[in-house]
């Protein structure tokens, strides 16, 4: 039996001014699946996941998450939907006026409405332990290295136990070893938290480690879709060039 479709994108079109970024892409993501979206810069990868998260509104096409049309939702329904989504930003987007503990407690207090300090503390420690950062609990984001910031961003995303995690270039700006560590961590966390993941990247080793299925975006369109091995050995020279 085919797994439930958690994200359904049909003919998505999005323009900024006169520039068309997405020219009608369509794809589905099934529960428990890791989908990697590859593509050159400016092909609309980040725009796609921002549309999925409801941060951008598409011009045409339909976009359903958990069967609900994201653009049709009112403010409260969108908020409820976002509680089931996690988003790891390219820059990790840590709140730099707050400590690591406060960063983690922020969604717990506001999204899950947890008031009990002991529970907040134990959940913060648990998630920090799972990303290997338990010693950084009292540090400020400015005191963390690039890799630690990504781990911390991942911890803040995971703390609310989202069903879908959207990763916007999780390994950008990191050295090769740290990139591999983060990619393995993404996979580990996906297994541990049983989440569905959509990963935007142009880091091929990251795609190889994390992908169940790979999609290639080019000029706002999805030009290829398949497993990593299928696309790596594609007959199409242009598609193979992504994997060299």
């Amino acid at each position: 039996m085919e797994a439930e479709k958690v994200i359904e994108v049909k003919n998505l079109v999005k323009s900024f001014g006169t520039r068309e970024i997405l020219s009608g892409i369509s794809f589905n993501v099934h529960r428990g699946e890791n989908v990697v979206i590859l593509g050159k810069s400016g092909t609309g990868k980040s725009v796609t996941i921002k549309c999925i998260a409801g941060l951008l509104k598409q011009d045409e096409g339909s976009l359903k998450v958990f069967g609900e049309d994201v653009n049709e939702l009112d403010e409260d329904a969108l908020k409820a939907l976002r509680c089931r989504l996690g988003f790891l930003f390219q820059s990790a987007a840590l709140y730099d006026s707050m400590t690591v503990r406060e960063n983690l407690a922020f969604p717990l207090k506001r999204v899950l409405k947890i008031k009990d300090k002991a529970e907040i503390e134990s959940r913060c420690i648990e998630v920090l332990r799972s990303v290997g950062l338990e010693d950084a609990i009292d540090k400020m984001p400015a005191d963390l290295s690039g890799g630690m910031r990504k781990r911390m961003g991942l911890a803040r995303t995971l703390i609310v136990k989202p069903e879908i995690i959207l990763y916007d270039e999780p390994t950008t700006g990191l050295d090769t070893i740290t990139s591999k560590e983060i990619s393995s961590l993404v996979l580990e966390m996906q297994e541990q938290y049983d989440a569905t993941s959509v990963i935007i990247t142009h880091d091929i080793p990251c795609a190889k480690i994390t992908a169940d299925r790979v999609m290639i975006l080019h000029e706002g369109k999805c030009i290829a879709e398949g497993t990593y091995a299928e696309l790596e050995n594609s007959d199409n020279e242009f598609i193979r060039s992504f994997f060299k």
Binding site: K50, K79, F87, P107
Partner: protein, 255 residues
Amino acid sequence: MPNQIFTAGLHNMADQVYFFKSFFRNIFKKGFEWEELFRQTYLIGYKSIGIITLTGFILGIVLTLQSQPTMKEFGAESYIPRMVSVSVIREIGPVIIALICAGKVASGIGAELSSMNVTEQIEAMEVSGANPVQFLVVTRILACIVMIPLLTIFADAMALVGGFTATVLSGDITAKLYFTNALTILDYSDLLPALFKTILFGFAIGFVGCFKGFTSNNGTASVGLAANSAVVTASVWIIIIDAIVVQVTNSILYS
């Protein structure tokens, strides 16, 4: 070209109206951020005390020293405390303190929110299901509305102390006589319009700072632009609000 400027102006105005609506709606929404409001009142109020004390004190000294020769010429030296208190409390205190706070607070808020925008922190709040307007905007604007009047009252008091210091240095007067002279001249028609004005100044400083920061474009250059634009716009608003409030209160109180 003039058409484009006109359209851009209309767009900006519409954005401000929408931002105000969003601010107002979120004041009454569930989950008010009291902790953040107290943190902001501390940052905006307590952290501005130093510059406000100095400005108020020097303002009192300068006003006294500047007016002394003229008042002496007319044999009206005993009116100096009254002149200082009325001019500081009704006009100079609120406007000068608001302009200083526009420089310190509005630019700070503009730069902070703009840099949060650039580093995707505001989007991160939004996508996590939290309410960034309630957390960032409502708390900052309300903190300004509360703290700017309090800072102005404090600065007015410092100006009277400064005026007293200048008078003591150049003549013989007791503190009791000085402050009795300075305060008995004041009535509600001096205090209430000034207080009302400072509340509006507080709103203008908070609102402009938040609007410029929240709606800034991406890119690091926008952080500086947001801070700069927040100071300039808030200062212009302060002058305009001052002119309107003086007109309105004069027509109510003295017609």
